[in-house]
Structure formats: C-alpha cells, structure tokens
C-alpha cells in the first residue's frame, strides 16, 4: 500500500473537473498515469492520455497496477468491480457517501480478486519525492517531504496538518497512507501499521485516528507487538455523543467508539497519545533521538 514511482496508475473518471485537476497535479509530481476511464468519452484523448471505455480495456492496452476513482457514489461499486476484474493490485477509492452495502460488496470482490482497497472516503496515498495517488497536497513542500516517518490517517485534512507539523520539526515522511473516514474500510489502520513495521524506509509511525468504530483499539493490539515507535493523535475529544462528526465513521454511540476507550487502549499498548497535533514534531524528536 506504499505507492512507488514505477507504479502505473489508471484514473477512473479522469475527464471530470476534479479528475482533471488532480490528474494534472499527479502527473506534475511524477505519478506515472497511463490513462483514464470514461465510457462516454472512450477513444478520446485527455491531458494527452488515452481515455478508455473500461479498466479492462486499459489493462489490455497499456496495463496498470493502481486504479484511483474519481467517481460519484452511486457509480462507485460498478467502477470498483471493473478495476478489480481488470486485475488492479491496488484500488484507491476517494469517493465519499458510497452506500455501505456497496462498500462491503466491492471489498469482498477485491478480496477474492487479490486487489487491495484503500478507502473509501480517503484522500489517498503519498510517497514524497516519488509519486502520489489521490487528493493530497503532495506538491506542497511544507506538508510533504521525503523522510522516515510513516503517517496513517482517517482524515485527509488532519493528516496534512500532522505532516506539516512533522516537516516543521525536520521530519519528512517515508509514506502517507490515508485509510479513509468511512466505517467500513478496505485497509484498516492496523493493516497500515503492519506495512510500515515491514518497510525498511520507515523508522517510526504517526497514527491519526478519530472517534467512532474500533480501528484504534484493533491497531493498539498490533502496535503492542511492534519494534518501531508509534505515536498517535485521536480527533474528537470534544465531540458530543450520538452525533456524526462529518465522517460517516466518526460517531460515538453510547459507550462505543469513545475517545477515552481509544486513548486507553493505545496507552496500554505503549503508544504515546498526543493532546494536540502540534506536539507531533517534539514527540518524534524524543522517540527517535533525532
């Protein structure tokens, strides 16, 4: 789930406003985009790249490892199945508000087809200095810079802020993995921790969570077994119970998904939990002795 400069990327929904804007940004940064999909504009050229009728057609023509979806929620399931059947190794689902049953279906299909899903409702993946896939400000050197911290986040904007704070303290990122803000995710925080534990380019992991669900509790269980230091920040300490805080997954129901439970689980696992995003830099300076 760490994207590399050599990865060939297909953009589903490349001709839309956002698909166009972010494809331009990705190409400018060095992402190897091989083309896009829009069934209505198949055969045309866009941004100097071929537009295919389907991911299957793109796979037969230029080939790709990674697909990224700029596709509206009700069309997401079909687009995902198309990419999975075409053999995508990695599928980045940026779309927010996909019906949950469609999400479960596409994740089940991906599992059967050997595709790793990132998201839904993620801002994507960044490997500073190499490439990015999604809608992160990779091109802003105050936010993303090559380095040795792996960053995992359920939120794009908060993930960007944390990266900014790390860069300010002199820490770049080995990679940024946006797992997404939905309750049901293809790749969990725990999965991303494992990827960074195994990554030779990563010395420590910054984990950005939020209230709702049990992702942080599950991640804590794995963090307890890790060799590399993990530092966490959990958003939502001041959030009221029973209200959905923007993300579909960010809701406290009774005693489930609370800030307190997550913080306690992480601290029991030996993970330092920050009170504010601005503390991230100092925390790594201490943890890594830099």
């Amino acid at each position: 789930m760490i994207v590399r400069a050599a990865d060939r990327v297909l953009v589903q929904g490349i001709t839309g406003t956002q698909g166009t804007f972010w494809s331009q940004q990705m190409i400018a940064y060095g992402t190897r985009i091989i083309g896009g999909v829009n069934p209505k504009k198949a055969g045309a050229e866009h941004l100097g790249l071929p537009v295919y009728a389907s991911a299957a057609e793109a796979a037969n023509d230029r080939g790709f490892e990674v697909a990224v979806m700029f596709v509206p929620p009700m069309a997401a399931r079909a687009a995902a199945l198309d990419a999975i059947e075409a053999g995508a190794k990695l599928l980045v689902v940026l779309t927010e508000h996909i019906p949950a049953q469609d999400v479960m279906e596409l994740i089940a299909a991906a599992k059967a087809g050997g595709t790793r899903v990132i998201g839904p409702n993620t801002a994507g993946l960044v490997t500073p200095g190499e490439c990015f896939v999604g809608i992160m400000p990779a091109f802003n050197a105050k936010v993303h810079r090559p380095g040795r911290i792996g960053v995992i986040s359920r939120s794009g904007s908060l993930g960007a802020l944390i990266c900014l704070n790390l860069v300010r303290a002199g820490f770049g990122q080995s990679a940024y993995i946006g797992v997404g803000g939905d309750p049901i995710l293809g790749t969990t925080t725990r999965d991303a921790l494992r990827a960074f534990e195994d990554d030779a380019g990563t010395d420590g992991v910054m984990m950005v969570g939020e209230i709702g669900g049990t992702a942080e509790e599950d991640a804590a269980e794995y963090a307890a077994t890790m060799k590399k230091p993990v530092i966490a920040y959990i958003a939502g300490a001041a959030a009221p119970e029973g209200r959905r805080m923007g993300h579909a997954g960010a809701i406290v129901m009774g005693d489930k998904g609370t800030y307190r439970s997550k913080r306690a689980a992480l601290e029991r696992a030996g993970v330092r939990v920050l009170d504010a995003p601005t503390e991230a830099g100092a925390a790594f300076t201490k943890a890594l002795g830099a």
């Binding site: 927010e96 089940a108 801002a123 904007s157 908060l158 309750p183």
Partner: protein, 388 residues
C-alpha cells in the same frame, strides 16, 4: 436514518414477516376507537429512543376505556428527551416464547451479520451476558447471500418449538419452529439488502401460543448514503432533532453541529474540524460549533461563515484551513467575500496551509489586511483570549 416502530413494521409486513394489527393515533379518543376495533391491546409511545418500556411508555389495555386512559398518560410523557406525540395501538399477541433476530453491518467483519437469540425481549447485550450460548451469529458473504441453507445451519439443532405442554396438544412439532425461524431470517436478510438497511432488529420476535412467529417490535436504520436510491421509504424515517441553525446548515448542505461554547470554529475536513474543536478545549476555551466545509462543500464557505456567525453565543472565530482536496484559496475567497459583506464585529483568527496556500494568504492580506497565524494553536489561543 432511524425509523420508529410504526414506520419500520410495514417494511417487515411487506417482506412477509407477520406483525400485529395496529393503528397509529395521536389522541386518547383515537386510541379508544382503535382499541374498540382491535380488542385487548398494547398502547406504545412512538419516539426515536430506546427503553420505552422502562420509561412507562408501553401499557396494556383490555378495554377501550383503558386504552384511552393509557394513551392520555403516555401522551403526557417525555421519553429520552422526546415529547410523545404519537402512539401505536396494537392487538395483543399471546406469547409462548420470545426470540431476537437482527441483520446489521459489521465493520470489523466488513460484512453483513445475521444474529439470532433464543433470549428475546431484553437487550441483546444483557442476553449475551445471561447466556452466551443463546446467541447464534452468522457472518454473511455478501456476494453469496443468506439463504435457507445458511439459516438452518446457523440455527443448527436448536429446539425452537413451543414449550412442551402446548406441543403435546399437537399444535406444532419440534423442528417446525426452526423451519419458521429460518424462513423469517431469510426474509429479514432480503429486506436488509433490498432496503439498504444498516440495521434491522426484531426484538422480541414472538412465538405465539398457536405456533406463529410475530414481530412485536422493530428497529430499522436506513444507510444515509443510500437515501438517494431509496426515495420511497426515506420519507418515512424519523427526522433528526436539529436546532434551527443545524437545520439551516442541513439545507445548505453543510455539516453544522451546535455546541455550548463561545469560540466559533470553521475548518475543512471532518478530522481537522474535530481537531480544531479539541484544541479549543485543550487550550482552555469552549467551542461553539462543529462546522466542516470539506469534501464537495468547500465552495460553500460563504454560507458556512454566515451560519457560524448566526449563533449569538459566538464571541470570536477561528478559521483553520489545511487544504488537501479542498483548495484553501477557494475557501478563503469565500470567507473574505462574506466578511466584506457582513462586516462582523467579532474578531477572527486564521491559520491556512496546504493546497492553494500562497494565493489564500495573499487574498487575506490584500482584502482584509490580515495575517494568518503560522501555528493553529496560536490562532486558537488568540480566539480564546478574545472571547473572554
């Protein structure tokens, strides 16, 4: 979106799961005539809250007069912060056994889960604590579905028939119960799929003295993301309780949640907005709201600012942008334009980073003569100080 009992039960009925005959009423007089028609009945408060029985919102009535009396009492109640305005008057079902059945999204399994318990009529958590063996759980492969084979496997060998004295009379044989329950579970799963439920729960699912299965209560939660493709039933769901400002936010397509503090918060993205609220509290202040302009809503910044300022408790404002997808130049343009128009008297403090940052900072300098704080904490501290 949650459905109250009276809105959920017709969905079960249409799916082939039996429910008691009932009338939805709003007065004691209507309750009385409903009871005259239905006979011995149960009068139930219709509110989007649990624990209605414990609160006294569910009462038995043998006659029309008793129904009117029960209705009068319940209509005077408030349950879980909701005033009772509607009642369901339901025929009373003679219960032999109570079961529990549900289908829901399981985020950890990333799959639907079917639950069945032989201990119904109580909280499923309480039932699990009382006797863990009573609960069966089936993680469904959503691509394969949940049919009779899966249901029967899940119920495997359980005695779900009538208690022995009745059975000996010969109404129902052991094993028949399991077949009927399996049929109900399959119908419930089909309904869950057809109607994009997040959760359907029947508790209790009653086995009547004459061997029928009847759903006595039902919870149904529709996946909010599926509302566009479920227009037929979305109108039946309970409206969320929103303050006037929250309702206005909803109409504008903005995520706005009113809190009781005095420092207004405007940020992009759910995570950053929460973190900004948290930091207000952490640094000794009190946030006045959650207001997110992320996702597709980042072009609505002008409306968002108006909304934040419309709260009379707000004494200062923090604008915290860290653009990924959302472009800070577009959002800042919205804030600056609205600020010029509205000319608010309260102080505002900015912190701006990420996509479009340079243009955004230029805009702020040129048109409001303001400098953003480099650190979000400094902007927040200044706003807290100003609110004092």
């Amino acid at each position: 979106m949650n459905f109250e009992e009276h809105a959920a039960k017709p969905l079960l009925d249409a799916a082939g799961i039996a429910v008691p005959k009932s009338r939805l009423v709003t007065s004691a007089e209507e309750a009385s005539s409903a009871a005259a028609e239905l006979g011995a009945c149960v009068v139930k408060a219709q509110v989007p809250a649990g624990k209605r029985g414990k609160a006294g919102g569910i009462r038995m009535a043998d006659t029309a007069d008793e129904a009117a009396k029960a209705a009068r009492a319940i209509l005077a109640m408030e349950i879980g912060g909701h005033r009772v305005e509607r009642l369901l008057v339901e025929e009373r079902i003679p219960i032999a056994r109570e079961f529990y059945a549900a289908v829901l999204n399981d985020a950890s399994a990333k799959s639907p889960v079917v639950l069945f318990s032989t201990l119904g009529g109580m909280d499923i958590e309480d039932a699990a604590a009382k006797d863990p063996r009573a609960l069966s759980r089936c993680v469904v492969d959503i691509r394969e579905g949940f049919g009779h084979r899966e249901a029967e496997e899940m119920l495997g060998g359980r005695d779900l028939g009538l208690p022995s004295p009745k059975r000996s009379i010969g109404f129902a044989q052991a094993g028949d119960g399991a077949k009927d329950v399996a049929k109900t579970l399959v119908a419930l799963y089909r309904l869950y799929r057809q109607r994009d439920a997040e959760l359907i729960e029947i508790n209790p699912l009653a086995l009547t003295e004459d061997g029928r299965l009847v759903a006595l209560d039902c919870k149904f939660t529709l996946d909010d993301a599926a509302i566009p493709r479920q227009p037929g039933i979305a109108a039946l769901g309970a409206r969320e309780r929103l303050s006037a400002l929250e309702a206005r936010g909803r109409e504008l397509g903005l995520q706005y949640i009113e809190l009781d503090g005095d420092v207004g918060v405007l940020a992009n993205g759910a995570g950053l907005t929460m973190a900004t609220m948290d930091a207000v509290r952490h640094l000794g202040g009190r946030p006045a709201n959650f207001l997110e302009v992320g996702g597709q809503a980042y072009t609505l910044t002008k409306s968002a600012l108006e909304l934040a300022l419309a709260n009379p408790r707000v004494k200062s404002l923090v604008v915290n942008f860290c653009g990924a997808f959302a472009r800070t130049d577009v959002m800042t343009e919205g804030v600056v334009t609205a600020w010029e128009e509205l000319k608010p008297t309260i102080p505002v403090f900015f912190s701006i980073h990420g996509t479009g940052e340079e243009e955004a900072v230029e805009l702020l300098r040129a048109r409001l003569g303001m400098e953003p704080f480099d650190l979000m904490d400094d902007a927040i501290s200044a706003a807290i100080e100003a609110a004092r």
